[in-house]
């Protein structure tokens, strides 16, 4: 029997037994090539990862993304029709959406740091201030004891103010440049939800210090909830934890502010911006 036939027969047997054949011996293939240590290291890691995560399936997508972000963009509408004098004059207003997103990030970072020191409790007697609750005292502590705490709280406050203002102005810009029109109706609706949630963020945050302003703003909110037809009492109990402002009110506001709203708002902002990415910025034309 010639040697070739024996090898062929052996290969056949191996194939039937579903043993790894030479064709799939990637490490062997790598070793018989002459590679530099860098190439060898790279290939080894790539093969190791690919055996586990089958990266090859995603490689094409990665490649597409790579080319897409390095792509020479087509001429924009303003460039093509020489509308720069009309468009760039108003350009600062086109940055308001980014402004609110950036302010949101700053607020999230400073808020996370503030959260290390804050405690949502209405229990009394934590510090020597009349009527002071634990929540109030922790904020007083942030402002007086924590290094840069006063600054941190001020940054959190101002980023919230700037975010809200930017969101309002962003909505006006979108309205007056007709940017909400087809095919962008859905993003307008998401924007309406986002502006409401932003105000919800502001409101819940306003209540957390549990000072006089917070307490009486909370009172207004509670009365608003109670005056909703049919569902009023249910809403008051769900959002304010009863018909009076108590510990459960503060705790609910805290969880809304640091847990529920961040998840929802972050997800919605991501969708909002993704849609802008897909559809492009609407220019006046």
């Amino acid at each position: 029997m010639p040697a070739g036939a024996a090898v062929a027969a052996a290969t056949e047997v191996v194939a039937v037994a579903i043993e790894p054949s030479d064709e799939f011996d990637q490490v062997g293939w790598m070793e018989e090539k002459e590679l530099t240590p860098v190439e060898k290291g790279y290939l080894f890691v790539l093969i190791w990862m690919d055996k586990r995560f089958r990266i090859v399936d995603y490689l094409e997508q990665l490649e597409t993304m790579y080319y897409r972000i390095n792509l020479q963009m087509p001429k924009s509408h303003t460039e093509q029709y020489n509308l720069d004098n009309k468009f760039w004059y108003w350009y600062p207003l086109y940055a308001l959406g980014s402004f609110s997103a950036i302010a949101y990030l700053v607020a999230a970072l400073s808020g996370a740091l503030l959260g290390f020191y804050y405690s949502p409790s209405t229990a009394a007697g934590a510090c020597n201030v009349s009527n002071a609750s634990v929540a109030y005292c922790t904020i007083a502590g942030i402002m007086t004891d924590v290094n840069f705490g006063f600054m941190l709280r001020s940054i959190h406050f101002w980023s919230a103010q700037v975010m809200t203002a930017a969101v309002f102005l962003h909505m006006l810009r979108v309205y007056f440049t007709g940017a909400y029109k087809e095919p962008r109706e859905l993003n307008w609706l998401i924007g309406v939800v986002l502006i409401s949630l932003t105000m919800g963020f502001g409101y819940t945050g306003y209540l957390l210090p549990w000072d006089q302003l917070s307490f009486w703003a909370g009172q207004i909110g509670l009365e608003m909830a109670l005056s909703i037809p049919l569902a009023g009492e249910w809403v008051a109990q769900l959002m304010f934890g009863g018909f009076r402002l108590t510990q459960s009110t503060l705790q609910r506001m805290y969880i809304l502010h640091v847990f529920l709203l961040p998840f929802i708002v972050t997800a919605l902002i991501a969708i909002h911006i993704a849609i802008v990415w897909v559809q492009g910025i609407a220019e006046p034309h």
């Binding site: 924009s76 029709y81 980014s98 201030v129 000072d211 009486w216 609407a282």
Partner: protein, 252 residues
């Protein structure tokens, strides 16, 4: 396998059928599907075909450009503005730090109760009890509680904003092209300010009834002025715009 040579799924055989030429491809399976899946598939085929036809027929270069690219044009320009914004936040925080009020006390009502400024408009809508309709049939009784009326007013405002894209359609983008809608926008923006002012009427040295009248009159006046100005601007402006536009894109 049973005698009729059909695969059984009742556990009697292996249930494994070797693929052969009869096995439908995924494409064929998709095409054969029923109901909603079938409809979806058909629609996508049509949409793809429509796109292809439009591209082939189009003699316009600008069909490729549907909007201003968010990446990289917009993003990179915005990064410059980001550094400005963060700097501004730090300056604001450093020069105007946030102080804290006296601790909450349910037994003393402060003279001034206010939400944060961005909720003034909503707070103002809650104070519109003067406009809550009364019915003479009910003997001058109000149809609903004042505060229910205020909450409903909030819902009406939010709802009105939400349905704008479904009322105003078309490709017009600039205020001069649609003076009426621009006037509506000016009305809304000014109303946001006046209703906010009305919400803090105890701090504003204007008589309350007058302030309520101004709350609704000022926006209307501003809207009318905006309408008149844009209408007057329109002719010359649109002429310039059209000239530039049609020079590059002559009508077919």
């Amino acid at each position: 396998m049973s005698e009729d040579n059909e695969p059984r799924t009742d556990g009697s055989g292996t249930g494994i059928v070797p693929p052969d030429d009869e096995t439908p491809s995924w494409r064929e399976r998709k095409e054969r599907r029923q109901g909603l899946a079938r409809l979806t598939y058909e629609y996508f085929e049509r949409a793809r075909y429509e796109d292809q036809t439009l591209r082939e027929d189009s003699s316009y270069v600008e069909r490729d450009v549907l909007g201003f690219p968010a990446w990289p044009h917009e993003t990179i320009r915005n990064l410059a503005l980001t550094s400005f914004l963060v700097g501004m936040l730090i300056i604001l925080a450093a020069t105007m730090p946030r102080h804290i009020e006296p601790a909450a006390d349910s037994s003393t009502t402060p003279a001034i109760i206010l939400p944060d400024w961005y909720l003034y408009w909503s707070f103002g809508l809650l104070k519109l009890e003067a406009l809550n309709p009364e019915l003479s049939i009910l003997g001058g009784q109000k149809l609903m509680q004042d505060r229910t009326y205020g909450v409903l007013a909030n819902l009406v405002v939010v709802g009105a904003i939400a349905i704008v894209p479904f009322l105003n359609k078309g490709s017009a983008r600039r205020p001069v092209e649609e003076p009426l809608w621009a006037a509506v926008g000016v009305f809304g923006a000014v109303f946001a300010f006046t209703i906010s002012a009305y919400s803090v009427n105890n701090l504003i040295p204007v008589e309350r009834n007058l302030l309520l009248d101004l709350t609704f009159l000022l926006p209307v006046v501003c809207g009318i002025i905006a309408y008149a100005v844009l209408k007057a601007m329109r002719e010359g402006y649109m002429f310039e715009l059209n000239r530039r536009y049609y020079r590059l894109r002559p009508p077919r």
